[in-house]
Amino acid sequence: MSLFSMSWVVLKSLFKVPATVRYPFAQKHYYENTRGKIMFEVNTCIFCGLCQRKCPAGAIMVERKDKKWELDRFKCIICGACVEACPKKCIHMEHTHTKPAVTKEKEKHIHA
């Protein structure tokens, strides 16, 4: 039993670099697998609606008639179910996270 068993650890920490990232001066390192946010390419989409059906959070709305694809990023839980389900591979996962926003707006994509 000792009273100062932590002292050695604390002393060592004094001479080490910080364990935290000095955000915003330094950015976090993302891995290849990191699920950051989903990205959508409207031009290859066939508006089949599979992603809407597979989405566990109900964040995706697809309107086949108007060729409209909507995503509510505040509902999206970034599980990757839509990326897996998409038959045309027009949804893909990006490593970086979504930037903070001040308004709760849905992201709309309309086929040209």
Binding site: S2, S5, M6, V9, A19, P56, I77, G80, E84
Partner: protein, 359 residues
Amino acid sequence: MTKRTIIPFGPQHPVLPEPVHLELAVEDGKVVEAIPSVGFIHRGLEKLVEKKDFFDFVFVAERICGICSFIHGMTYCMVIEEIMKLEVPDRAQYLRLVWSELSRLHSHLLWLGLMADAFGFESLFMHCWRLREKILDIIEETTGGRVIFGSCKVGGVRKDISADTLDRIVKVLHEYEREIKEITDVFIADGSVKHRMSGVGVLSKEDAYHLGAVGPTARGSGVDFDMRKLRYGAYKNISFAPVLETAGDCYSRCHVRIRELFQSIDLIDQAARKIPAGPLEIKVSGFPEGEFFARTEQPRGEVIYYAKANGTKFLQRLRVRTPTFANIPALVKILQGCDVADVPVLILTIDPCISCTER
């Protein structure tokens, strides 16, 4: 005649960020009775199974808890696979073991940090979480998520870990082992920590058994109760013995978790050496019909999943019995007769997860 006072504990309390309410009946500074009440964050996830495709429900099952998320998802998949008589490939079983043990590592390090915070040892708390962060980085690198892995699916796993990466992870974990030992030695040897925890909240072996305690709470009292001994998944090919302590106080519950950290690293090491090559998943077709119980070992103890399927894409019933729910009777027992000042530490030693309990 001593006066009985009722002191409300929670649902908001600095030591525990989750809402649990306890009514403590206190006489002369000693707790004579504790009445728990839960239900502040009930989300009805078991009912949701009737509206979600059984294949997609694994995303919901993983989100029952933020710390033992992977094992929730894995147990759900095991139930469905057993109902549908699916043979999961060996490689997927081993990968599930690796991720289960990584999740145990990060959960126990989180608990050690919270425990240090509860008895006011701030620098120890930060060092525990610094180490946990390194485990989270490994998890993020291999699965893509930090706490919600999302890598388990019915019939196998979504992600693979290459042999090189797995070797590197084992090497890195052995390097961390030294750092973890440096920190956990403080819990074991430091006079103030020992003084705060040993002899506090003793749960006898008989009580732990009869009250149905699970996980480190039961093993800290000497009850040999580890679901990994059922040899589910890849555990059948791995050798290990459950960690047992006999004193039954806070210190021994803490000691069980510390020893399990090193055991988890050893299990990952064994799995990395034995993992076979092969497919990651098998194709799932048709709908499940029948019912099954699955029991697995989470960082906090045994979790039971029961599912009943009727041949459609929606399950008829899902029941989840989480470890914290099973540990609440044991908590009420250890609170009887303790000092009011010990209550936060005692509540923390069962590693409560209220969002698990209420689902």
